[in-house]
Symmetry: C2
Amino acid sequence: MKLATLKNGTPDGRLHVISRDLTTAAPARAATTMQAALDAWDTVVTDLTAQYDSLNRNAEKEAIAFDQAEALSPLPRAWQWLDGSAFESHGDLMDIVFGMNKKEKLTKPLMYQGVSDRFYAPTQDVPFRSIEDGIDFEGEFGVIVSSTPMGTSVNEASKFIRLIVQINDWSLRKLAPVEMKTGFGWIQAKPPCSMAPVAVTPDELGSAWRDARVDLPLNVHWNGNKFGAANGYHMAFGFDDLVAHAAYSRDLVPGTIIGSGTVSNANYREIGSSCIAERRGIEMLDLGEPKTAFMAFGDTVKMDVFLPDGTPVFGAIDQKVVKAG
Amino acid sequence: MKLATLKNGTPDGRLHVISRDLTTAAPARAATTMQAALDAWDTVVTDLTAQYDSLNRNAEKEAIAFDQAEALSPLPRAWQWLDGSAFESHGDLMDIVFGMNKKEKLTKPLMYQGVSDRFYAPTQDVPFRSIEDGIDFEGEFGVIVSSTPMGTSVNEASKFIRLIVQINDWSLRKLAPVEMKTGFGWIQAKPPCSMAPVAVTPDELGSAWRDARVDLPLNVHWNGNKFGAANGYHMAFGFDDLVAHAAYSRDLVPGTIIGSGTVSNANYREIGSSCIAERRGIEMLDLGEPKTAFMAFGDTVKMDVFLPDGTPVFGAIDQKVVKAG
């Protein structure tokens, strides 16, 4: 099943069922918002799925053309957003960029708590105050869980994963190492994220949902130029590990979103990267210094994902960086 | 004005106006929930204040006795919770406890993003999985802001502070240094917080609201024994600094809560502490090793604050630690 939230003038928007090929949409009958659907998932999932099947058969009377520019993030605001850093090749490069000492092999996932009171819409301009802060994108996958009890084990965790999403975790690279060195994590370096328009149930990925990981390339274009297509499978910890880690000492409410961290593969020289900081890290390794500047006002970033047969999965994040006014 | 949220079977409860002496309550007419009041503060504040004045004059027809055991946290869940660490004497001791190197004098506030999807009710039992995790309380003050734009300066920040609250920031001390060393901040070491029943507008503190700080002692009792009464004034950064720091790269939505960090004074040997970890730090300094164990199941903690004339301010956090089950 595929779901999106379309603008209706309210912060939470209006939940829609989206056809598998992302061409049509219909207002969900079983729930008016994504949060309401997640709060009552077991009650509404049968009706939502039936409506989705009907839409795919062109049998849905209320169907309209799906315009991704009318979409908010699938969950426009959430009670909790926790972001992992599960790709080791990304973490290793970040250590170089930030001048951190190489850490021992991690036995627990890395995770920080991020701002969740808004996720920018997938095609909206994103405001920043200064390019001096080092504006960067971070392409990620994420999962949205239903109610997950404190103490949930890794083995149990997957069953609470309801939806998969695609995220751009906006980052300010000049501020990040300063905050990281405090040990307190990031506030100023991590403004709100963006999400691609469509959230999908794991079955929509078919065999590409594997070991609680997304075995698909994340295509990243910066100013129209291909920047990377790293595969989401290469997580040192799967989303099951991340959910269990998050739930160690807290219940997770429905709609908690948990991110993978920047998608990265060890063959980054061939496959490219999902953030500029990683490319700069490669340049530091190969050339002795970073050559690629961070984003400028007016720059665009586009991120999308396709199944091997060409079916679009989440729609596209397609955004422009603008000066906050 | 004083406000509290009473239980009504919903997550957000029912907003009530509370008399200055905390003896009576009346359902707020201008807004049904605290979040709704904060979302429309400028529209509702006159009516709420008039109702508060009426309640204090015993002229409120719907007045009932105020039972603190019926209160949820004033904001039972929030879109954002950011916690500072603004008391230097606390930070210095924590560096000793965590084996951190002494940092240079800070030029920016320390702040982390915490879980905000629930704040435990002020008198509810608080569940933890294991005493091996090092269960500790942290007595704090906090502010709740209305809509605060990205880029708000320190000079402008105070005008967005709508309410002051009293917080217990539950912490798991065995997990905290492990997470802190990652630089990502705390997830497992910081389960949900609790709040005292009553949120107050700054004018309720009179001259004790000074330089965007709470110039009052925070009384802490552990298992009925006095543990500390540190004064809230001694912040290296005031709440105006903390709000401006938080708003550097993000708009703050109404209902964003910003905490002071553990209230601590340099004369902690005389005045006591607001968390066990600080007492253990003092013992490490004075005795060479910590002597005081962290909390056990069945332990209680009580925290309250009074004006110099004896008027209770926020009501009491009065909780018991229990095994999650």
